[in-house]
């Protein structure tokens, strides 16, 4: 989920109609609302929202830029004091995102992942099920510590290439490659909403929670609340793939190359040891929060500072491998939402959309279905980050007002938004395809059909989690 395109960019996006809309709509909206007697500050704020939405929906610029411009306008028009508008930079969400991104950068670039790949290929039994599980779980296990889907793709892609290339029999390769491709792709994103630190979008939703909810839904409780849905999704994934592909069988692979490479490996380097220590310390820090009382944001910042002091994360990597564009998107959105709350517009939103609030509270099952439908439809037109931002910004304040946890609404938005049938819907799909295109051939139709079935799996997992959520006070 990169926030900036990698292709050469034109100076200004060639979308004259959209640029026209950016000029006309905010001003028209401002004057119209002023004419209706809406307070001037509110009219200005809504005009800024219109600019941001148009820019996001029509991908007029990289997605962090409209958010940053919106923040600038908030400051320029004095809609909120600097402490509110720039609060994102001191937020827990920012600290966690920044730190885990740094750790993810080191994990991706250290030799640890290569060592792991070789160990995996050397150790697992030669059948398609083992490979599917290995490829899927490689992506899955990286969720908590590599906080971008593209970051995990960088690690899983070569493993997938290795596995598929190692298949000696062409018939094996042909029959198994779609299954393995899906395992790689889904391993890195299917269950990412289950871990707070698995994707920038999760951190973005977390950052939009009220402070009290942020305190409640730290890493462990987020995982706990998502665990039933996650477990159902995980088990269902393998059951569905069993019936869908019906192709679990023994395969033969070229073990000699793998064993040779494994034996040629040096001892663990300083960088690998430090990275490993960083992961273990982060995990230990999270697990022992009740003892030391240090918040997750400070734990993760401590790890990243330690890795900087040790020079394991170098200055260059610090500059290049941390997604600063995303961090600016995150902090801008936190500031923008804070401004909305400062102006009292969140309460106006709650009052105006009382019916939706009541629907959330009284007909949660129907609300889930409606939200799922809306997210899936919108995702055909609006990019991943923007869709999540728009839904989260609109619905999280309503959830708070409705007396249900904003987490549950954010979780559903995340689970459903990650669904993509076509490459254009998600940048990480295109990225993953590019990574494996030379070694892996697969059926696009089968991939789309399988993802269609997974929507039902996700929906089922959400519904099955409702009693659990009620029992633990999420609903």
């Amino acid at each position: 989920m990169k926030t900036a395109a990698t292709a050469p960019r034109k100076i200004v996006a060639e979308k004259p109609v959209v640029w026209g809309a950016v000029v006309v709509v905010p001003f028209t909206l401002f004057f119209y609302l002023s004419h209706l007697g809406v307070p001037r500050e509110t009219a200005i704020f809504l005009a800024i929202v219109s600019f941001t939405l148009i820019s996001w929906i029509f991908s007029l610029m990289a997605d962090f830029i409209p958010a940053l411009v919106a923040l600038l306008l908030v400051l320029l028009f004095g809609l909120a004091p600097k402490e509110i508008a720039l609060a994102g930079f001191s937020s827990d969400g920012f600290l966690i995102a920044f730190s885990v991104m740094g750790l993810g950068a080191i994990i991706s670039s250290s030799g640890l992942t290569n060592r792991y790949t070789l160990w995996l290929l050397k150790s697992i039994p030669a059948n398609t099920f083992s490979y599917q599980v290995a490829v899927f779980f490689t992506g899955f296990l990286l969720n908590p510590v590599v906080p971008t889907i593209t970051g995990r793709a960088v690690i899983v892609g070569p493993i997938l290439n290795n596995v598929v290339s190692s298949l000696e029999d062409q018939e094996d390769k042909k029959k198994s490659s779609t299954l393995l491709y899906l395992s790689g792709l889904d391993g890195i994103n299917f269950l990412s909403p289950v871990f707070l630190t698995a994707a920038p979008a999760n951190l973005m939703v977390f950052a939009l929670f009220p402070p009290q909810e942020q305190y409640s839904y730290n890493f462990l409780f987020w995982f706990y609340a998502a665990s039933v849905a996650g477990l159902i999704m995980l088990l269902s994934y393998f059951v569905v793939s069993l019936f869908f592909f019906r192709s679990f069988k023994k395969v033969s692979i070229k073990q000699e190359d793998v064993v040779r490479q494994w034996q040629a490996l040096d001892k663990l380097s300083w960088q690998e040891w430090s990275t490993l220590a960083g992961i273990i310390l982060l995990a230990a820090g999270i697990m022992t929060t009740s003892l030391h009382k240090i918040p997750l944001s400070v734990i993760s910042l401590s790890i990243i500072c330690s890795l900087l002091v040790l020079n394991v994360l170098t200055r260059d990597d610090f500059i290049k491998k941390i997604d600063w564009a995303f961090l600016f998107l995150l902090t801008s959105m936190i500031g923008f939402m804070g401004t909305m709350s400062y102006m009292g517009l969140d309460r106006v939103l709650i009052d105006e959309f009382g019916w939706l609030k009541d629907s959330m509270r009284n007909d949660f099952s129907i609300f889930v279905l409606t939200l799922t439908g809306a997210v899936l439809v919108v995702r055909f037109f609006i990019p991943l980050n923007s869709a999540i931002l728009i839904f989260a910004a609109a619905l999280i304040p309503l959830a708070s007002g409705a007396g249900i946890s904003p987490w549950v609404v954010g979780f559903i938005i995340l689970i459903m938004s990650e669904t993509a049938f076509f490459g254009y819907q998600s940048p990480y799909i295109l990225f993953f395809r590019n990574l494996v295109k030379d070694d892996v051939t697969y059926s696009e139709v089968q991939v789309q059909l399988f993802h269609g079935i997974l929507v039902l799996v996700k929906l089922g997992a959400i519904y099955a989690s409702i009693p659990f959520w009620r029992a633990i006070g999420v609903l």
Binding site: Y215, T289, K293, I294, S302, V309, G403, I472
Partner: protein, 346 residues
Amino acid sequence: MKQYLSRILCLIFLLAMLVTAVIFNATKPRVMILQSYSPDYPWTRDIDVGLHRVVDDWPNYSVTWHYMDTKRNSDVQWLNRAGLIARRAINRNDPHVLIAVDDLAQELAAKYFVNDPDMQIVFAGINASAEPYGYNEAENVTGIFERKQLNAVKETILALESRKDDPSENPRVLYVLDTSPSLLKERVLIDNFSWQPIHYLGSSVAKTFVDWREIVKQEGDAADYIIVANYRKLSQSEADPSFVVPQEVMDWTADNTDVPVVGMNSFNVEDGAALSIGVSPFEQGEVAAKMAELILKKGIKANKIPMVENKQYVVAIRESALELKNMELPAIYEAFGRATENYFEE
């Protein structure tokens, strides 16, 4: 060799930093403030102001705030959930001192920690008795009660009455309330208060705004003054359970009766009432925080600090609403209202 030594020293530095930070955080005093309502509710907002007067001076204490939001949402399902979440937050925070404010915080969360050997509880805002929560026999509880300043309310009504052209010796007073649990609990205290020489007509509970309007129209005409405390739990009607905006209740009441409305909470005037003599929320917060401070600094058990009742009250005046009812107060009231920034001219 240099490289090796540098790495070792670097690791020692990081380890020392880590261990010191862990020890510092694990041992620093932790206070959790549990509010029954939400931070934008005026009563809670002002208690927070009182708490901040003390809390902001605490060096290196870890202070966590938790709001249960039980005013806007008050159905049984929500209350159970709010209690569950609050208790979980307390368990996770594991505070040395828990400051629990208003009745629902006690009922849904704090009472579960009575006699917890590692936690001291300071309550504030309990309207009636602390007995239902087991605080009277607890070893780890102290706090400040919230008792309506009925004597001050009585004196104020008499002062208003004395300035009328044709004052009554026994002005009639009607108390109208909603179904807030805290109001229902203290209703008996108000009903049994010695109101003489005022002629107290009794209290009427309104479940809905429809009820409220009927009470004000039918029973209000028989009164010279209506006293109110809260009306945030008034649903629109039996059919529509959504709560009426408080300002709408006060505006309607002011517009549809000649009888002046006297509030017993300072925020009643913010909502539109002409005058209020309310318990000081600032005092509730400040006293509770000072008790917590005493427990932490002296290392004493909460039950060594006597439970107290509030001493301060706040006068709030809306000049325009008073003038509409041709009411006048002694100048000292206006001075008090202005001094505490509770005098509204519009």
